[in-house]
Symmetry: D2
Amino acid sequence: MAGNSYGKLFTVTTFGESHGTSIGGIIDGCPSGLVLDFEKIQQELNRRKPGQSEIVTQRKEPDTVEFLSGIFEGITTGTPIAFHIKNTNQKSKDYSHIKDVYRPSHADYTYDQKFGVRDYRGGGRSSARETASRVVAGAIAKQLLTDIKITAYTSSVGSIELLKPYQDLNFEEIENNDVRCPDAELAQQMKDKIKAIRKEGDTIGGTVSCVIQNVPVGLGEPVFDKLHAELGKAMLSINAVKGFEYGSGFQGTKMKGSEHNDLFNNDGSTKTNNSGGIQGGISNGMDIYFKVAFKPVATVIQKQDALDANGNIVEMQGKGRHDPCVVPRAVPIVEAMAALVIADFILLRRQESKSW
Amino acid sequence: MAGNSYGKLFTVTTFGESHGTSIGGIIDGCPSGLVLDFEKIQQELNRRKPGQSEIVTQRKEPDTVEFLSGIFEGITTGTPIAFHIKNTNQKSKDYSHIKDVYRPSHADYTYDQKFGVRDYRGGGRSSARETASRVVAGAIAKQLLTDIKITAYTSSVGSIELLKPYQDLNFEEIENNDVRCPDAELAQQMKDKIKAIRKEGDTIGGTVSCVIQNVPVGLGEPVFDKLHAELGKAMLSINAVKGFEYGSGFQGTKMKGSEHNDLFNNDGSTKTNNSGGIQGGISNGMDIYFKVAFKPVATVIQKQDALDANGNIVEMQGKGRHDPCVVPRAVPIVEAMAALVIADFILLRRQESKSW
Amino acid sequence: MAGNSYGKLFTVTTFGESHGTSIGGIIDGCPSGLVLDFEKIQQELNRRKPGQSEIVTQRKEPDTVEFLSGIFEGITTGTPIAFHIKNTNQKSKDYSHIKDVYRPSHADYTYDQKFGVRDYRGGGRSSARETASRVVAGAIAKQLLTDIKITAYTSSVGSIELLKPYQDLNFEEIENNDVRCPDAELAQQMKDKIKAIRKEGDTIGGTVSCVIQNVPVGLGEPVFDKLHAELGKAMLSINAVKGFEYGSGFQGTKMKGSEHNDLFNNDGSTKTNNSGGIQGGISNGMDIYFKVAFKPVATVIQKQDALDANGNIVEMQGKGRHDPCVVPRAVPIVEAMAALVIADFILLRRQESKSW
Amino acid sequence: MAGNSYGKLFTVTTFGESHGTSIGGIIDGCPSGLVLDFEKIQQELNRRKPGQSEIVTQRKEPDTVEFLSGIFEGITTGTPIAFHIKNTNQKSKDYSHIKDVYRPSHADYTYDQKFGVRDYRGGGRSSARETASRVVAGAIAKQLLTDIKITAYTSSVGSIELLKPYQDLNFEEIENNDVRCPDAELAQQMKDKIKAIRKEGDTIGGTVSCVIQNVPVGLGEPVFDKLHAELGKAMLSINAVKGFEYGSGFQGTKMKGSEHNDLFNNDGSTKTNNSGGIQGGISNGMDIYFKVAFKPVATVIQKQDALDANGNIVEMQGKGRHDPCVVPRAVPIVEAMAALVIADFILLRRQESKSW
């Protein structure tokens, strides 16, 4: 019941603190017989890892995943797949200044209040480093979903927004720039913005959009475990996420039903897709698309008031190596969580049947 | 694993179709010894029920809940609380015209594709009638949460938006108008809008905002079952919901970290509350607030193209008694789901402890 | 988390007290498209119901099941199947003598200590009446399992034991006598024993054996959810059960490995079946067989010391209409729980696959 | 849903194959603030480890546990506790003779049929080596349960049975002999028996009894998750277990109700304890006691017919270093599983309450 597992049939449980021995997880329920492409798994990790470009944190962590079980001669055996990533670049001293201090808008205060014990080094369990484990699990989920294409990209940095609908974008451009925005010109503006913000010692928020293509009809388990409800939960569970919308989203609230309704083609596809590929909580075969809001990183390299354990307000100078904007590194995390959600629903779908 | 249960310790499972014998549910895990106020439960149902005002569907359903178990002499016994609400105003004939037709942007097509069998009467299981069961369970959850105040209200209808922060609102005004908007003037505009839309035979979307006050610090189970992730899932599981944001939400993505960070007061409270009462997925004792986006109702009383089971596009004239805007009746549903989420986390929190 | 649900994909949640309005349940996860034979469901209930023969309790309860949802035109729709059975023969006055008294070896004391509130009428939730709901769910599960044959029978009453292996029995004899023992001669002895015991105002224990035939290879989810572990839990969850063994069981502990090992035939079947159809927690295609121990019913129609709520020992005269031996009526309950276990593992098995 | 997790609030998920990199697990839900005694954890592992005496397998594995997360400065932080034990004495070549062969009464055949992929080395995931992870988790659970005493011991080896009730035994004798039988004389007979059996190249079964003392009233979650049902499942999930009985068990089926009923003392305790400390699925405060049946180990050092992957019967000569009787090493495993069950129910119990 502790909340470190995700998924019902394809279940990942993660462990690990930012500055502990290692982080990792167990995938229970991965079907057997899957020939793993380990290079692809590492590639996904590399998309998330620190130090990958000039606009992300300059920590150097190789983030090499080691598998401990569940794989025999490169093939999944149907037993739990355990893996871990060693923490090699732990500069715990970087954090000695926050040992007795709660940083504003971090999880320091709430973790301490909840658990009464606090691994203060690098945020401990609340560090976004935990998401590396999700990326590993998601990379394996992606390999299950051979026909389904999951593509995330940066759709805004601060007020710089990519307004084009995803259909007008060239997804092949995404990895061609450090921001992971498929529009080269906007990507440059975003990059400049991030660099300027970093210079100020500040941070900035942004959004990641995601498109899931070639999804079979029938995924989702109403009434509570609707497909978009699980996607929403999965996205909201990522560090720094503040909002989620799919299909027409918040904008759709301003529309009339007669405008919003997606009229059918003869084959069951629809002429428009305000539904975002999901109707009644179940995929309808159209593209699923959604947007995820990320707040600005709380660690700023400026003087800020913080609270100490004795209830005193103390001035704190942010240190450490942090991202001025999480969005570029969040792109593979969004994809990973989407893959976990879809893989789980695919397995759930398999055991349903119309004929007995 | 079928998705008709919500909650881990305070678990509600709902059943029932719009035009079946009855709808209802089982609450498993409600603590014993709770003296129930049945009138309050019925009041919540009345806030949701059809026919309550001139701007909602004019179906007449008394929606009287009957309890079958788990209560002895008015007190919960710790055993499963089963309840049901009879379907008394079933005009199944109203739906004979859609027997072989999939209405656009309804769940007709996806349910039929998923299950291969379809109770087409009134949307069957996908009807928002199911939410009455949620309101019953939520009303009981509210009675557990004696110190916690959950208040939802209409914050927009179409483009008419209530922009004031919730702190500037008088929540006592909410039930004084049919729209459930705490600003009387805007409420009137919203009502006029809904009436105009209905006249067109059309529908309109809107948003519901919700504030949860007096929440203890420590609720939420990272890393996956963060408090806002569960709130998001719960809200997204409500019919017609397209988006969820909490705290600074999507707007927060445009802010800098230095602006967004909530600086502490000496007592652990914060001077601002961009965090929306949740940090690192755990409640910090500040007010929790979030916004939920509802799309326009898909049933319009206009001619529309639909798809029949043979793949033909057929013209369909919307009939039946439907809401031109779901938002006024969604207010108690949002509260109910919020109560279910909070009750569950309260019970989870109880079994944690710092000292052994 | 409260324990009133069983099964992961084919999940039944039961509700109801012996003397409340009704008992019943919700089945969530029953596949759609199953054409239900309602008569067969009622037949299973009739095998469990009181008053069916001279050796069971003479309470008269029709135990007619009413379905509330999840079925359309006789076919399951894939949505939750809710059902209930009205309590029609409630003689709550029968229990006024135990209002403030804890009967020995009943659940009166533990329920009161656990919940602090007690529906004392007829044992409330702890009454074996609850098992009628399991029989309904099990009867539906049986209809899913068209190829699998589940047969339970009485294998002992007190010291009168059926020692023949199940292969030497004629299962068609089971329903030919009130005891449900497939050996007519022993059945008569058992019946005489039960009648003699009842005359004494006493009760007697016994065992039920169960054989599951035609099970596909591959059911069971090691390491914790082994097939026999779930069967064991399911059986131990039935009222009055004190033990469970499968295959060679307790007797097998006295054997040598060289004797106990089941040697293979060329087709993967085995020459002997000490394994009871399960190896490593997974079905191997051979018959599954197990035995369940039932203690004597605690209600005896004799004077017995009981405890009152004030800590006084008081003399109590057992009243009410009770079974002198639960075993004959337990036979369909054992089958129902077996069907629930197997149906759940069949669905789990469906989503596994060797090839991707 | 894959079955490698146990427990609802105190949840352990295990991973690892006999001859993989390592075995281990994650405990999610261990309360924070627990000061761990690492030496005690290792002691429990040492009671289970191979090579500890002359009557167990002579494999030499240090079985040193390494913790990766969830502990800070020796104290649990409330976050997932991951641990692993490296496999250091892997002689995979020992198993090359079974690469294409299914050994009788092992899990070789069923695993291969289920998963289509087989890590044949040392039984892979089906190896009892997995139970080392359970012992680690159980050792931590024991440290939570400071007031509760869990004691298992060998109660039979083949036909040599310890018939004395547990009250007449001196538990301090258990660890004084290699068999872990508290009766020194019987222990010697059992040891002689095991040595004789090993000389024959054969194996023998046995039983382990377990007593849980000082259990609070109120543990257990009827109707399905009864305390004894979960204990039964937990025990039956241990390798080689064939049966479980608690309290009067199978013997109790031969008793009359008037003999079997446990009459009360004034304080709610009972004069006898046929109930085995559990009534209606809920602990009543009396000692819980149960017995677990272990079959003889399937690996015999004799020639035996086996099946190869092509359906041929082939003669196989058992090799490797195996236990002639699992019972002595099973004692700490039974205790570990009992501790996991009780810890979970203690946490569940915490969130219940009579007063609101």
